[in-house]
Amino acid sequence: MPQYRHHILVCQGTGCLSSGSTGVLNSLTSEVRSQGLKQQVRVVKSGCFGFCMQGPVMIVYPEGVFYTQVQPDDVPEIVSSHLKQGKVVERLLFKDPETHKPVQEFDDILFFKRQKRLVLKNCGAINPENIEEYIAQDGYFALAKAVTEMTPEQVIEEVKKSGLRGRGGGGFPTGRKWEFAKGAEGEPKYVICNADEGDPGAFMDRSILEGDPHAVLEAMCIAGYAIGSHQGYVYVRAEYPVAVSRLEIAISQAREKGLLGERLFGTDFFFDIDIRLGAGAFVCGEETSLIRSIQGLRGEPRPRPPFPAKEGLWGRPTLINNVETLANIPQIIRHDGDWFASIGTERSKGTKVFALAGKIHNTGLIEVPMGTSLREVIYNLGGGIPKGKKFKAAQTGGPSGGCLTEEHLDIALEYDSLLAVGSMMGSGGMIIMDEDSCMVDVARFYLEFTRDESCGKCTPCRIGTKRMLEILTRITEGKGTEKDLNDLENLAQVVRENSLCGLGVSAPNPVLSTLRYFRQEYEAHIHDKYCPAGVCQKLLAYEIDPERCKACGLCRRECPTGAIKGAPKQPHHIEAEACAKCGVCLSKCPFKAISRGPGSRRPEPGLPAEVAAGGDEARVHPDSGSSLVH
């Protein structure tokens, strides 16, 4: 039996027959024979493909090339070009009048067009597991330039000129950090890449390491050259397995190519990089804790000074830069500092990568020039809020940051403007909240995070975050008092001013900023026992729709507190006082008669409405209280 190289299906359906496919079939059969392909090509008559408008049609396998409107005259070309030389006859391919030309070229897609992708340039464009693809995108040319054409001082000068500031959150000028590390006495020196990204909802560094690991390695080499170090460490979370494995591959490929190791580019400079895995403690993103962790000690901060640039890893001068900061370096060196400084704003240069999460259409990663407005990010890049809901707030800087509200939509995203309104740039996590988000609950969420992640070394953070969380929990459970609100504010100040490291210092930020912009929500929880967004479980009201209730009694039997009352064949009802808001009834009701909602604003129990509302007169006559209710 012959092994055919091609099968050709020629449609012999009614439609194609009427447009002349018999002629095409005959022509094809004879052409195949005459061009000596009989043993290699099998022509098959097939049924209708359903593409009668474009007939006669044929399909060439194995590729599956689909030719339309084929005329007998076209057949010789198909045989000689496609079947013999493997070149598809482009002019006979199907053309969709609508989608063919106005194709969305990658760079035309507004999502990408509106970004300025420097750091993310290679992410999604090259194979991170193949060093040659990185090199093809000008990779390692910056390192070559630095070690063969520039002095360490010149490298630092370019970085200083670029105005690059630390992308990990603090925004310290990178060039100055390098300068300190270079000037520090002691040998050996170390370069550390901080890839301990821990903010909930932030994944910028992970994406860079996964998509373009060589950019970070190249930058570390350049930093090593600039400060006089020969060993780098990437401290990366073990929870980033893909990033870790790509880093491992990248390091071994760079060593193979001689881009890490001895005598780089024929010079005397040598540099190597190793990976150190973190175990997922948030505090290890703080540089002194990170250093202790690399040394195998408990991950905890120590007071600064001395700064790591002077006394870091193993007590030696150490330069620590965040992943995104480093990823900017090769391009700064390849172009120059002025080029970089032309992007962004007066005091914040370059671009910033943000991770969009929460109530936003395009959950994902974007990179924009510093100074881009929040509105641009949320609406033009993030695609706005899903389901037509209203924007309420954006949390930047994760658990260390604060929230931006509607009034800040036109704020320029840069270090100083964010600090001015009580938030911070942070590492670039941005969580969007809509009208369904309760800001007290949001603050509680972040406090729970920092309480859990506090290392426990210093008093204000260890006990302060715990006490703040206790107060916030009380408020969200409807047990808060006016004193709690006052205590919370005082406590936030104490924790912020007196903690040992950045974790504690910034832990109260979500509370302080939600208090600043959404105080009325706190007050609603406290005074009215009401959660306006309908989020706080303990403040929700459960109701039975009498129309839908079939009086089956299931909810009554399941209710753990016996809050549901009702007789057979009579619609049941829930006694609000007894209800523990566990939600069992809701999940059990077969008729969907039970609903949950924010309920209505309730006065504090036992007090007349006027008292709860702050009426002074009623407070004068507390005895008359009960008679005033209802």
Binding site: F94, H100, Y379, G383
Partner: protein, 119 residues
Amino acid sequence: MDSVQELEEIRSRVLGEKPGRILISMGTCGLAAGANSTLEASRDELAKRKLTGWDIVQTGCLGLCDREPLLVVEKPGEARVVYYGVNDDRARQIIANHLVNNYIVGEWVLPSDEGTQTS
């Protein structure tokens, strides 16, 4: 690596002529959305159709984590096309239509206004 020339040689070799490339976003988000099976299906389909010369490149995240798996088709001299939500079935169809028949499957192409506010 002894000299910049070596780097330059690699660069020009990699950038040489090719029928085209398929890029599949395989960051953590892509992997979570099933990019691995997109990759396997694409490889399988290319082999089945004997489309040698085409490279499949695993890349990092493009930023649209919500639309993963993303697959980009690059043909020299032609538009770079981004497909979203590419499961293995879509991957096979994209290869048949776009690579073989130069027919862009508009339905799965990331719309150009992606990122503008949706009403």
